[in-house]
């Protein structure tokens, strides 16, 4: 009997240890993966954890950190699934968050909780590093009052017009990137070119645009303001958004859209089958297009986007307040995101640098086979330098999803555009009260 009781308690104990172990793991294996000797003794070697997602940082560069900083043992963890939700949870829990964390273009959603992150200005980031980075990109990680910087820039997403050179030629449109930029300068030029292309290639059923959500996204990102002003007041009902909206609606009314949503197998198939002649996209669409449409190799080109340059996406890297070694972590992120390493990541991972000093490097401008040996980054560089700084704010996704959902309703269910606009505004105003 007593033995039974003993074993039961032992079992419960083991169980509790396992449960608690889930949470305490990080504390337990400090200095673990670095190998034998360093644990225990004076604690001279510091362990820093880093969370990132696939393809956001060059894995080989991360391995270099331990060599560059002999006193640091960097544990880089690739976090899958919903990255933001996992980060939010670990911050809310007050433990379990990494020292260093990658942040996507939703970085501003953390402004209301900026004190969860180390203010990089306290380590002299503004004096030491600011001049190295693109200004608009830098400002995206600084709170509107200009006093608090929660992360350093990683890569950027300057945009350009991706177009099918062969289809443009068949339709009698300009084909060389310079000519395209010169002749298709505004959205109106772009619509006109679309009509011309579709009537010339009527038997092929080619469309100029993939979907009207792309039109709206790109048109809004060419402005210096989007849905909120610096004090987080909603300004999405004003002229600059209405204009972008009207452009999207016009593409629908002129029948220029293939009505195929992004990030679907359908989109890949449409690109590969040559059903879409152009779209405006960020530099990272390059990789996506190459993977989606291998049969169109050599047929695509890029030009400066009609309507102006813009930026989509791009990420940041910050330090959480939970870190016990913020000073060392700062040195690591500074080193990881140095111009030299950003250049390297462009070559190895197609991550477009946020440090313009490397733009003059010969490695940046290389002929790319998939795009008919065009030197694409010449165009993306110019685009990156001309992006207008636009404040996104913590409530960006509330406004954005309402507009995007209603545009989908227009395109896919023929909803009346006037009603859709009003519905979107009503929905946003209602949701912002919560």
């Amino acid at each position: 009997m007593t033995r039974k009781i003993f074993f039961s308690w032992a079992l419960i104990f083991c169980l509790l240890v396992t449960v608690v172990g889930c949470g305490g793991q990080q504390a337990a294996d400090t200095g673990g993966s670095g190998g034998g000797g360093d644990a225990g003794s004076g604690g001279e070697k510091i362990t820093l954890t880093l969370w990132y997602w696939n393809r956001s940082i060059d894995d080989n560069l991360l391995k270099e950190v331990n060599k560059q900083f002999p006193n640091i043992n960097l544990k880089a963890e690739k976090i899958g699934g919903d990255f933001k939700a996992k980060l939010t949870t670990s911050l809310a829990a007050g433990s379990g968050a990494p020292d260093i964390v990658g942040l996507n273009d939703w970085v501003a959603e953390f402004f209301p909780n900026k004190d969860q992150f180390v203010n990089l200005f306290e380590y002299g980031a503004d004096k030491e590093l600011k001049s190295q980075y693109l200004e608009w990109k830098w400002n995206q990680a600084v709170t509107p009052d200009g006093n608090y910087m929660i992360a350093l820039p990683m890569d950027t997403g300057p945009t350009a017009l991706f177009y099918r050179e062969d289809l443009f030629r068949e339709a009698g449109l300009p084909t060389e990137p310079e000519e395209v930029s010169a002749q298709i300068k505004t959205w109106e030029d772009y619509f006109e070119a679309g009509q011309k292309l579709q009537s010339a290639l009527a038997d092929k059923k080619v469309f100029m645009f993939d979907n009207i959500n792309t039109v709206f996204t790109q048109a809004t990102h060419q402005n210096d303001k989007i849905y909120f002003d610096n004090s987080d007041n909603f300004i999405g009902d004003q002229e600059h958004i209405k204009q972008a909206w009207d452009r999207a609606v016009k593409v629908h009314q002129l029948g220029l859209s293939a009505k195929i949503g992004g990030w679907t197998p359908e989109w890949n198939a449409a690109m590969n089958n040559g059903k879409v002649a152009s779209f405006i996209g960020a530099v990272w669409m390059k990789q996506i297009l190459m993977e989606a449409a291998p049969d169109t190799k050599g047929k695509w080109r890029i030009a400066r986007a009609p309507g102006g340059d813009g930026n989509n996406g791009g990420s940041f890297i910050g330090i959480t307040k939970q870190s016990k070694h913020p000073k060392e972590a700062y040195e690591v992120i500074k080193w990881l995101m140095s111009p030299e390493h950003q250049l390297n990541s462009l070559v190895t991972m197609n991550l477009f640098p946020s440090t313009p000093s490397v733009f003059s490097d010969s490695k940046v401008v290389q002929a790319e086979e998939f795009f008919g040996n065009q030197k694409m980054n010449e165009i993306f560089m110019k685009s990156a330098e001309n992006v207008k700084p636009a404040y996104r704010g913590p409530k960006f996704s509330i406004a954005n999803s309402a507009f995007q959902d209603e545009l989908t309703n227009i395109e896919k269910q023929n909803k009346d555009p006037e009603k859709a606009w009003n519905d979107a505004l009503n929905k946003i105003k209602k949701e912002l009260t919560r």
Binding site: M1, K4, I5, S8, W9, L11, I12, L15, L16, V19, D82, K84, A85, T88, T89, L91, A92, E109, F110, P112, N113, Q116, A258, K259, I260, W263, T264, P265, E266, A269, A270, N273, K275, S397, I398, S401, Q404, D405, T408, N409, K412, Q413, K415, E431, R434
Partner: protein, 312 residues
């Protein structure tokens, strides 16, 4: 074993007062110790989140910062929230389109698997169960290519027979059919295995007697199998009601967090997820969860009444 019998025997004699209950627990501590792992895990991963979400439903919280008590505001908003009501109707529609064919096919498959003349029985059992353990994300991607509007496989078949293609992912009705078909594909085998276990507990003498009396297969199915399976059927109806009310991954992967055109694929749990995890409205997300709780409770009760009735 003897311990257990003793314990229950003693328990029956002395129930009534709380004090004596605790004394009973103390006296039989070994047995309670044996069952405690479940309760410990449940308290941490089940009970605590349930209570916390109830607390959250009265707060305004972005997931990290300060919580702000807002009383019944979240529920007041919930009642007038058109998308929430739409999500409820969508969920019910999808549930009906999926559960009825699913349970019907499961019963037929289980009946066939149980028949005496079948060879390679285990192979079939595994084959029918396999969809249930397949990665749901992979399944959704495959179904995404099947139901594609322009380049989908089903529309390819339709057009090659000279029929009009269907805009599966745009239409109010067909989107729900697409989601329901994924559920049917995934869960029919699972329910069939449960039915099969139920079928095997029916004594074979009944079937033999029926056969001697000249009953056909269809007659034995409706006169013997179905009535004797009623408790198992009740179980599957309730579990698939609870499961059906919680549909999430299928619509999320097929049409995204927004629920697709005009939110036609928006289910309650998808809405909960969208509010809490993409819009950072954790208080409202919790209120949606309690709305879902009420819906599930009501439907489980109705189900139970319907399936129970013929017996009483």
């Amino acid at each position: 074993m003897s311990n257990l019998e003793l314990a229950t025997g003693r328990g029956r004699k002395q129930t009534g007062k709380y004090g004596s209950l605790w004394r009973e627990i103390y006296r039989n501590k070994v047995i309670y110790l044996f069952i405690s792992p479940f309760y410990i895990l449940f308290a941490i991963f089940g009970l605590f989140p349930i209570l916390f979400s109830f607390y959250l439903a009265f707060q305004k919280w972005d997931g990290i910062g300060e919580m702000q008590f807002v009383g019944l505001d979240q529920f007041r908003y919930l009642i007038t929230d058109t998308v929430f009501w739409k999500a409820i109707w969508n969920t019910l529609e999808i549930w009906i389109y999926s559960t009825i064919p699913m349970l019907f096919f499961a019963l037929v498959i289980a009946f066939l698997l149980n028949s005496a003349f079948l060879r390679y029985r285990n192979l079939y059992r595994i084959a029918y169960f396999l969809p249930n353990v397949t990665s749901i994300v992979a399944v959704a991607i495959i179904f995404g290519t099947l139901f594609g509007n322009t380049y989908g496989f089903l529309n390819f078949i339709l057009t090659s027979f000279g029929l009009e293609p269907i805009e599966w992912l745009n239409s109010r009705f067909w989107l729900k059919i697409a989601i329901a078909s994924m559920i049917v594909w995934r869960w029919t085998g699972y329910n069939a295995i449960i039915y099969l276990a139920g079928l095997q507990s029916i004594p074979t003498v009944l079937y033999e007697a029926a056969r001697i009396d000249g009953a056909s297969t269809v007659q034995t199915f409706f006169r013997i199998t179905i009535p004797l399976l009623r408790p198992v059927i009740l179980f599957t109806v309730i579990t698939s009601t609870i499961g059906g009310m919680q549909i999430f991954t299928e619509p999320q992967i097929l049409v995204g967090n927004g629920g697709g055109p005009n939110a036609e694929g928006m289910t309650i749990v998808l809405y909960l997820y969208q509010q809490a995890f993409t819009k950072n409205l954790f208080g409202y997300g919790s209120a949606v969860a309690w709305g879902l709780f009420v819906v599930i409770a009501v439907f489980s009760f109705i189900n139970w009444k319907i399936v129970q009735r013929p017996e009483s």
